[in-house]
Amino acid sequence: MREKAEVTRFEELALPHMEAAYNLARWLTGNNHDAEDVVQESYLRALKFFASFRGENGKPWLLTIVRNTCYTWLRRNRMNEITTDLEEEVQLADTTSVSPEAMLLAAARTESVQRALEELPVEFREIVILRELEGLSYKEIAEIAAIPVGTVMSRLARARARLQKLLSEPGLAEVRA
């Protein structure tokens, strides 16, 4: 039987990161209901693993579990969203022709930014969320996504090139609130 004291210590470590956990789950599952399920499942799994947690920083540790739980959910429910040939797509989109004005027009709208992020493959989207919304370092993101630090940088490069392109497409700029 797990001791109550252990659960209390776990709560102190993990509950402060509930917002980050929910935000990541919401971006990866795409809806509120499944995001909450994933967060609850993640916390129960995290409690199981808590005895082996030796680090000081609970946030990347917890987000690793949230991210893995999201992928389990995606494999079960949205298999088509998991990209298998990411590494083949090395050519960067040419963004030099994008006018900053056209981009800003679209980017100034919350719904067009949200839609552009949702259009990213999930493997790119998670990196952007962890970097731009959570402000995590490459090293922390590498730990969470189980990829080398160099891959974090190259995925960010490709994700940002895509975002620039998506945010400068006329269709997005004309979205009305």
């Binding site: 001791e3 967060v39 005895a51 800003l104 949200q114 080398p148 940088m153």
Partner: protein, 250 residues
Amino acid sequence: MICRESQELIHGYVDGELDLVRNLEMERHLHECAACAGTHERIQRMRSAVTANAPYFRPPAGLEHRLRTRLRANAETKPVAPRFLGRWQWTGIAATILIAVLSVTVMTSRRTGGELAQEVAASHVRSLMAAHLTDVPSSDRHTVKPWFNGKLDFSPPVGDFPDRGFALVGGRLDYLASRPVAALVYQRRKHVINLFVWPASGQSDSAVQQSDHQGYHLLHWTKSGMTYWAASDLNSAELWELVSLVNGLS
């Protein structure tokens, strides 16, 4: 710096993930090159648009309460077994990640026909990219040396020579010559020096050999049962000074 390098590193630059030397090189390049400066501006504008406008989804009211309830129910009913299983699953995940990381390292190092000098130079360059320079950032050799305990099957000699202009910045585990090695990081002015150390498997002391790879100076020698490789863009005369300081330790 040329544009191709700049395009590789520009994201590390905007994210503040480059080391000091690369950061300064990037700044200089952006002053000189209008095309890269344009790329930089577009990235920054896009980033600020995303951070300003992307929704941050807040958890629904009551989620914290529901979590606490489920966690506590778990405390009162769960037997010990799943915890044991959980720990092993976790170990399995960690092992898989470790194997993946190691195989990537081995693959990159074999690319050039196994030439160790090339491997050392590549490892030096990799360490300068992103926040990868040290695992244990400390200028205290009494912190750095014990850090390697349990991570390596040998104990590298660790010295700090601030009076002689070589300050210890930290240590890192690396993988060279198909084995884990100690990487000690020193700084002289703005130059970073990686000193790789591992046991010399029965070789006797050897004189220092110098070679140059990708614009970096490499010094290689064997002393008191340890193999040393020093890599840096520091001029070689000064790099030789570090050799005598390190050899003075053993």
